[in-house]
Amino acid sequence: MPTIDLAKTTLRELNAALHRLAPDGGEVWRVLNPRGQHAVAAGIDAPVTVEVDGHVGYYCAGMNKQATVVVNGNAGPGVAENMMSGEVRVRGDASQAAGATGCGGLLVIDGNASARCGISMKGIDIVVKGSVGHLSAFMAQAGHLVVLGDAGEALGDSLYEAELYVRGEVESLGADCVEKPLGDAHKAVLVRLLNAAGVGNEVDVASFRRYGSARKLYHFHIDNVGHY
């Protein structure tokens, strides 16, 4: 198991080594002393597992493809930003814009995520075991955001077709975001995502409420023609 100590090796060397991995590799890497550095393990495209011991700064595991990146600590802004596939797990809290613009893969945050979690998400699945801050899932287009705790102000503002599930309190819903019935198909999605996040046995899927787009903002309404 390769172990990279960022107190001795530069971040650029670490990321370059991860980028050189064969697309069918399967190693486990351990990264020590990240000390809040930016872009740790960003841009990987290989089925590798990278365990990072400590807190990371901006954009950890950004653009991830295939890899599993585990942060044993907190993550700064934009963790797993624009992830394409694979898995990113944050054992602590995540700062703003976690999973922003993500197109695929699974992001699991064991603690809380702050503002704008899942902003403009485009297919990523995000499971937050704690709570999320204001304006989460802002303009979210596709994918699922599952929050076991509470959501801050303006959840799902200007939402497109991402699906939001919150178990706790929602401080307020954003423009065009509405509560929708939780059907069996939705419960099946929740079972799949909660199992993937490792909490399938602990959480009752019926305790979630589902939110989605009212589809009034992004469709043209003939009643409004006079305003143009």
Binding site: G36, Q37, H134
Partner: protein, 297 residues
């Protein structure tokens, strides 16, 4: 961009290391604000005295403004020269006369005052600015610092942070305010004076005005949430305390950490990584629109 650091010591045993710890924190955020830097250190009080921080050009002959003060104070005031700044301790009852005398001197101005606060700022890379002022050797109970990437006004010493508009009060800011001209006009009507066109100076002035009118630090910060429009993370220092406030949108990053020995603020976690015991600290992101403060008792 811009970077902010703040350190409030709970363990008096760390006080001799305040400057060294603050320098390391500031140095970690050089790349967030390479234009200029500054810091305020709350050091030892000299009973019956006020500390005045003076600023002049490089290689200034401090003898010229300081010598006439001997007549007022009956002795030369205690002075510590640090690059372009000097801190003098003067008897509190002579402060007005001394301010008058210094106002008559050429090329020197008073940039900060208080029972405990000393404030330093200059244009240049933050780690070099800290070096020039000898931050690492300073002692005290709390300090705040700033690395600036200018957006709203010119890269000048006056435009660097911290801004101080009242005794022992200073403020650093990451963000930009949009209603600062209107607030500045109101404050000028209320008797405050401003040195720059800078938005942050208005926030500092607003805090000073509120506290002069009797508000506590917490009340002043809550009022700033209502009256100031724009993006901000503020860290403020007073004689006894340290406060943090983020605007309701919270665009600007912020991390806090606390142990038995200290409370620290950093724009990023990178600023905190060398604090003693940080690996066991409670680390969290301060919530938007919520006042955080710590005060010495």
């Amino acid at each position: 961009m811009c970077g902010i650091v703040g350190l409030f010591l709970k363990d008096a045993g760390l006080q001799p290391e305040l400057g060294a710890l603050t320098r390391t924190m500031l140095g970690a955020l050089c790349d967030r604000g390479p234009d200029s830097a500054g810091f305020a250190v709350y050091g030892a009080e000299i009973p019956g005295h006020v500390k005045l921080t003076l600023r002049a050009r490089k290689d200034f002959d401090w003898d010229l403004p300081l010598r006439p003060l001997a007549d007022i104070c009956n002795a030369l005031p205690r002075a510590t020269m640090r690059d372009t700044h000097a801190v003098i301790a003067v008897p509190a009852d002579k402060e007005a006369a001394i301010r008058g005398e210094i106002a008559r001197a050429d090329g020197v101005e008073i940039v900060g005052s208080g029972r405990r606060m000393e404030v330093f700022k200059e244009v240049g890379r933050p780690d070099r600015v800290a070096e020039r002022f000898g931050l690492a050797a300073m002692a005290g109970t709390h300090a705040i610092g700033h690395t600036r990437m200018a957006t709203e006004s010119a890269v000048t010493t006056n435009g660097a942070h911290p801004f101080t508009t009242g005794p022992d009060q200073c403020l650093v800011h990451n963000g930009s305010l949009s209603n600062h001209n209107a607030v500045r006009r109101d404050l000028i009507r209320n008797g405050l004076a401003f040195q720059t066109e800078n938005d942050t100076e208005v926030a500092a002035g607003y805090m000073t005005w509120r506290m002069r009118e009797g508000a506590s630090l917490e009340q002043a910060l809550n009022a700033m949430l209502v009256e100031l429009d724009g993006f901000f993370t503020f860290v403020v220092g007073t004689e006894s305390g340290f406060g943090v406030l983020r605007d309701p949108i919270a665009c600007k990053p912020a991390v806090m950490a606390e142990t038995e020995q200290w409370v620290a603020f950093g724009t990023e976690y990178r600023a905190l990584v060398d604090l003693p015991g940080v690996e066991n600290a409670e680390v969290w992101e301060p919530e938007p629109a919520r006042v955080y403060r710590w005060e010495r008792h």
